[in-house]
Amino acid sequence: MSDTARMLDETAARLLERHAGDDAALMREAVEAGLFLVLVGEDDGGFGGGFAEAAAIARQWGRHAAPLPVVELMIGARLAALAEKTDLAGRTTAALAIGDAAVAAPLFPGAEAAFVLRAAGMLSLGEAGIGAAAPASLAHEPFAALAGERRLDGIDADALAQVRAGAALLQAAAMTGAMARVLEIATDYANTRNQFGRPLGKFQAIQNLIADAASELLIAEAVAGAGLAALDRGDATPLDWLAAKAQAGRAATVVAANIHQVMGAIGFTDEHELHRYTKRLWTWRDRWGRQSWCEAEIGRMACAAGGAGLWPLIADRGAQDAA
């Protein structure tokens, strides 16, 4: 599977680099290439990939601060295929709705209706018409108003739970991409910007800020990777994705705060690219599992397990017994 993930990683990176700054062209080609159908079975016109493959795309999207709600597009397509297998074409998929608005982007050219993902506790899928533009999010993503929403049922509860977990892990993967880019920006800057006659990177205080940011990212990558692998193997537990999303949120906070400090005033301007990443990170902390909500869920699980059950809760994940 990792060969496919590598291939998708490279494909997504090429596409994003070729169309940097041309959102319309990016959207057109990504949709034509069926990139967002990675989680849809081959029988339904998709790629038949797992969550690790989808994570390769999500991570590249985050790394390029690209437009389009990539997690929602991939998850929406998967759910739509699960809900009504034959009727994917002609639809738009839309993001996790907040109030009456949602991030919206087409799955297929010429789409007019939206799939609506809602994840208040449990994930559900609906459909709606698309209305006027709605207030933007913190990261200025294109929100659209929805009209005449109708819930779509008939999706197996286990499948929904798996997609719910997958969405959180894909969001975490997108965050690792954005954080990796932020660290590149910071490292280049610290090595080239001179103050007091030497590069910023020579100052221990600056080194510590960047080292802490990189450390949080590495942990976020490790726990997200473990969760994705568990989900694709079919033995994930809620702790896998809750911990991954909580850690991604924590890491995003540290990375954004520390690197804004390193970059100084230029990083606070609209002219520098840093804000394109940090605004996404701030927003994504609260998407598909708010950091504190994930932590509270884990805390409830821990207390339900009690002191004696706490270690098994952590350690007895994955395929414990030989097949």
Binding site: D9, I219, G225, L242, A246, E295, G307, A322
Partner: protein, 386 residues
């Protein structure tokens, strides 16, 4: 891919632990016996607490020298199996101090770099839980700047005589040997050259060990003085002069294991008990944050273990793991004292005593095995900051 990147879409996370549930259950049964026996108490410092009898019993179950060749008393199990046993024993609070250093780093160093004579005479005793090692790195005037050490080994007929002083050596008062980093040549242009590692027996009248009482009132650290004791040539590890390379390698083993996450895990279990089965939101968030952190850093530790098994480099990752893991170990008791209605006291009930032990030992977590500040410098270098 740099050594500080683990792209999540390429992870195999946790796969190497598959099928080890049986081993976990076996270790938990052993732990239950030891709890009943009284050797395991809540909140006990696990890998520094010396208990030779416990080590003998653990060795009898095959939990020491797990990965070593059978000819040295080892069990030829996988690194992953060893990982499972170690984390189970550490999470439970087992007293591993008699064999931990030997099993974690001294034994593996001897296995890789010692002469046959030293391997044959020492390794089987470690494997039987009968032999304790200490780490002879720090000196009174050389802490973080290890290359400035002054302990020197002079060449004499058939070996060396050793002069110098080591300090902060855990359990040296119980130890049979120290692996001593020393100068075998005077310090020159390259300060990392001319250093060597010697396996030094401590049962020698020219070696004196002075226990130091730590702030928790426990005699755990020691000062060791070498006053011209003889060390045979056969006890040199590797080639003379490559001591720095060996020390760096040794620190890699020291930094990425579960012993850098779980030192205060007992206090986390106290929180999970005392917050009640249905905690309020505040308690749930606080406890959940710590459990998420243990889970996340353990994922990194496992990813490193997997890379070590495939002989991939882990230098920077192990450093991150140690820095973040030990900071978490320190944070756990501080969250507990804000969350729980519990006054830490060594003389209090088991909960209060566990919290007191954690608070009193916490300062050491981010010092031993490389201070936090040194670790962050290593990470920065790995990131290419120059």
């Amino acid at each position: 891919m740099t050594e500080l990147s683990l792209p999540p879409h390429l992870a195999t996370g946790g796969a190497p632990l598959a099928g080890l549930g049986g081993l976990r259950r076996e270790v938990r049964a052993f732990v239950a016996e030891e709890v009943a026996r009284g050797s395991i108490t809540l909140g006990q410092q696990t890998w520094t607490t010396f208990d030779r009898d416990f080590s003998r019993r653990a060795a009898a179950r095959g939990y020491v020298a797990m990965t070593w060749p059978k000819r040295y008393g080892g069990h030829e199990r996988s690194a992953t199996e060893r990982y499972v046993v170690c984390e189970e024993l550490l999470a439970a609070g087992a007293p591993l101090g008699s064999h931990w250093i030997a099993d974690r780093q001294s034994g593996p160093q001897i296995l890789r770099h010692a002469t046959d004579a030293v391997r044959d005479s020492i390794l089987p005793r470690i494997a039987a839980g009968e032999c304790t090692f200490g780490i002879g790195m720090s000196e009174p005037d050389s802490g973080s700047d290890l290359s400035s050490i002054r302990t020197r080994a002079e060449r004499v007929n058939g070996g060396f005589t050793l002069h110098g002083r080591k300090i902060w050596t855990t359990n040296a008062q119980h130890a049979d040997y120290l692996i001593v980093l020393c100068r075998t040549e005077p310090r020159g242009e390259n300060r990392y050259a001319g250093l060597s590692q010697l396996v030094v027996p401590l049962d020698d009248p020219k070696v004196s060990v002075r226990p130091l009482t730590n702030l928790a009132g426990v005699q755990e650290l020691n000062e060791v003085v070498f006053d011209g004791n003889f060390v045979p040539e056969a006890n040199l590890l590797g080639k003379g002069g490559d001591g720095w390379k060996l020390v760096t390698e040794e620190l890699g083993f020291e930094r990425s294991g579960p012993d850098r996450i779980l030192s205060t895990f007992g206090v986390l279990t106290v929180m999970a008990d005392l917050a009640g089965r249905t905690p309020d939101r505040h308690a749930a968030v606080e406890i959940g944050r710590l459990v998420a952190r243990v889970t996340a850093i353990r994922s990194l530790s496992l990813a490193i273990a997997e890379r070590l098994a495939h002989r991939l480099p882990v230098g920077g990752m192990a450093t991150v793991m140690k820095d973040m893991g030990t900071t978490l170990e320190q944070e756990i008791p501080e969250v507990a004292r804000r969350l729980l209605d519990l006054v830490p006291s060594p003389e209090g009930d088991r909960h209060a005593a566990a919290l007191a032990t954690a608070i009193l030992n916490a300062p050491c977590f981010t010092l031993r095995g490389g201070t936090r500040e040194i670790l962050k410098g290593i990470i920065a270098r790995e990131l290419g900051l120059r």
